[in-house]
Subunit: 473 residues, 2 copies
């Protein structure tokens, strides 16, 4: 396993150079978290689709337990139980629209992961950086458990557990645990843990910071230890459900799949679960007594338990919904944690927007009315007063709004408009509007996937590394 | 599945051109046997070893259910449930000895399968043709169920079910069902079904031909139908045992594996089976209540059932041993079928040589003494008189010996010498003589294998074809 050790040294050294201004040291954060022996235990898998371009190249890397789709190059990297989804990459000849300009895409876009260590990370979508449209680069970077790297090229970054970088090009920055950043471009920043920040230049700025008390309880990261807290416990308690689906090569769907819907064979489905037409259930999603109405989607790392979603719902990467009823067109953002109980269920009205990284953890029943935006940390109806606003109210904001720890500046209408537009795009991309012929999305295309299962060297100095590989259509 | 259909057309057209002098038509033999839909059902698997070179390249091919190891290129071919073992290929810098000359090997040898259809075929070893040492080519060829292509480059050939081509370069020839040919070089020949022919130029010639009655009973092939007979029934009855081992990704050994032994994870082990030190059990081997003594090997497609093998036994590719006790150093050749019953067990003494393609199917107990060579079709002690000779007797033959349907010409001592030499080589190559440090063979190296599992396109015009792939160290 000597060469795998050398590879980890190389990655840690590189990120430490990039983050030297913060005296950052990745060593004690990474070493303890993934002992090298673990990297030999799990296979990687690569999805082959007849409908979309793919090209998979790896060199001198470890891919233990990771899922790949689309065009990806992995070079001197450790990718551990991560999901690398290249099914929305740009193709040669596409036109990219940016602030009124139309930029031609010169090559098929490729996700390139180089000198990086990704732990249980979700990488998806494509670079929104008009400066390099053809390469979605993740370099000299460490990302921790259940981080999301979404449409965000990152170089020289440390991304903490449950943190999300969304539609943002980031250089030499630290993104703290459970922080969400959507800011277009970011450089040499140290984002404190628990920061939820949505920023559109000259348009709007939304910012909320979780208190240290809350973070300590739900997710915290200390040098020399693995991340801990309620989020980690929650996932660990459900870990065994995934064992079976990884043990077998081909798995028949445990429930019936209606027209236009798809259930990834690496998803868990338990109890009395039902999925409707045009529903997408992605790999590593977990459904238990879940009822998903037409056009709903359950993305990677999401858990939907003892809950009913009426239709056209988005449950973004890492979203968790327990003991809840969600109306139509409810959006639940990245890594949101919505936990009701049988005694204290959660109800969310139609068209609500649950901001990314929202925690709703109830000790009394809670009902959120239709057309509301919610954020932050909510335990009861009282918390809702400072952690929610109606779409109408927000849309009227012209300059600023402060509510509890949330500070909004700029155009509320622009903010709402941007969100609504994106939700519509996500539903369309996932196939919610498929009519049997037109408007195909991931739900319809996902039905055609087959998987290649890739193992590392089992012995010798290369133990844990994967052979060099090139897979093309 | 259009492209897969085109590929089959291409292969059939090519072999028919090569075999036009015989008015041969592969079409009705191949079409019925593997309906295209079957080629989508099974995955292929590729063994990765840290100890030996590997390089796997495929283009525009279907590999359904096939096993690959070592350096292989598959190009416009259909390889169905076949075993392609490149673990004894020559390496760059090796010296090849041929009739006193020493020829340098200029490149790493590669198995190349091009415009060929292999059905449940075993391909192993390396080319013995001094004219091309670096490429083991199988081209414009169809081989049928349980054929063995062993160290034999073949071009423009049809190889019938349970036929074996061994250490022979063959052009534009038909090898009938259950024929065994070991002849160095062969061109434009039509070998009748059931011919067992061992020929060394200017040294010896062994020939036996099974009667049509026997062939009809055990294995026959008619245009428009799949092969049928006792051999096919025997395998079909045990097919389900293999299901489980192909369904799971990683499989723990079902019995304890002593020092220096290896049990391939794609082998079946049932009942009260025991394997000794330095035993090799290859993929697709099947053990049931089998006792294998130190240094015995069970090669691909062999079945050892309710039997005891004392040690240093070779059970070559496709050999079947049922209700039998074999002494030490007994050799059982390719596709031999040795079937005792509880009432009529078979006993074979030390150092016996069971010729390839021998059928022993008992209706009374039979004991074969030590140091005997047996061949042909044996049902009882009476048959033995014309289907066996002691090593001593054969060694004394200077010119010829005719016994029943067997005709031997040339040097009996040379024939025995060549066989003994080869058996010794097979035991050494398989690791029978490993002492804990020295004399490593496949049994010891096989312990380090990991497997990649490869799926075809599941839908669309390319359905059943595999993506282009290149896997290197």
């Amino acid at each position: 396993m000597k060469q795998l050790g050398n590879l980890m040294d190389r990655i840690i050294a590189r990120i430490n150079v990039n983050l030297r201004e913060f005296q950052f040291d990745a060593e004690p954060l990474v070493r303890r978290t993934i002992p090298l022996g673990r990297l030999v235990k799990f296979y990687a898998f690569y999805g082959i689709s007849p409908r979309q371009g793919f090209h998979f190249r790896i060199f001198r890397s470890s891919l233990s337990g990771s899922y790949f789709l689309g065009r990806c190059t992995v070079d001197h990297a450790v990718v551990y139980k991560s999901d690398i989804r290249g099914d929305e990459l740009k193709a040669k000849g596409d036109r990219f629209h940016f602030q009124g300009a139309e930029i031609p895409v010169c090559d098929d876009e490729n996700i390139r992961i180089k000198d990086a260590c990704l732990i249980k990370t979700l990488v998806h979508c494509y670079t929104h950086d008009p400066e390099i449209l053809e390469e979605f680069l993740i370099q000299n970077t460490v990302s921790m458990h259940y981080a999301n790297i979404h449409g965000s090229p990152v170089e020289g970054c440390f991304i903490g557990p449950f943190a999300t970088v969304d539609l943002t090009t980031i250089h030499d920055s630290v993104i703290g645990a459970f922080s969400y950043v959507q800011a277009g471009e970011l450089s040499h920043q140290n984002i404190e843990p628990g920061t939820v920040w949505v920023h559109a230049k000259d348009a709007f700025d939304f910012r909320y910071i979780f208190s240290n008390n809350v973070l300590e309880k739900y997710i915290s990261l200390e040098p020399g230890a693995s991340p801990r807290g309620i989020f980690i416990d929650f996932i660990r308690d459900r870990k065994m459900d995934f064992q079976k689906i990884f043990d077998v090569v081909n798995l028949k769907a445990p429930i019936s799949i209606p027209r236009g819907a798809s259930l990834n064979r690496y998803a868990v489905v338990k109890g009395d679960s039902v999925i409707g037409e045009n529903v997408l259930v992605a790999q590593r999603a977990c459904l238990e007594n879940a009822w998903l109405g037409k056009g709903a989607n359950a993305q990677e790392n999401c858990y939907i338990i003892n809950s009913r979603l009426e239709g056209n719902n988005v449950t973004a990467h890492g979203g968790k919904i327990i003991h809840a009823r969600l109306g139509k067109n409810v959006f639940v953002g990245f890594n949101a944690f919505l936990r009701g109980t049988p005694e204290s269920p959660l109800e969310i009205g139609d068209r609500c927007i649950v901001m990314p990284h929202t925690i709703i953890d109830l000790d009394e029943p809670l009902k959120i009315p239709e057309d509301y935006v919610v954020w932050g940390y909510i335990r009861n109806a009282d918390d809702l007063k400072t952690h929610a606003a109606s779409v109408k109210r927000l849309s009227r904001v012209k300059k600023s709004l402060t509510l509890g720890a949330m500070r909004f500046q700029g155009s509320g209408a622009g903010f709402i408009e941007a969100f609504k537009h994106r939700i519509e795009h996500i539903l369309a991309a996932n196939g919610a509007f498929f009519d049997g012929k037109q408007n195909k999305g991931h739900a319809q295309m996902g039905q055609d996937l087959t998987f290649n299962i890739i193992h590392p060297y089992g012995k010798g100095p290369q133990k844990g590394l994967y052979p060099t590989m090139d897979i093309r259509p």
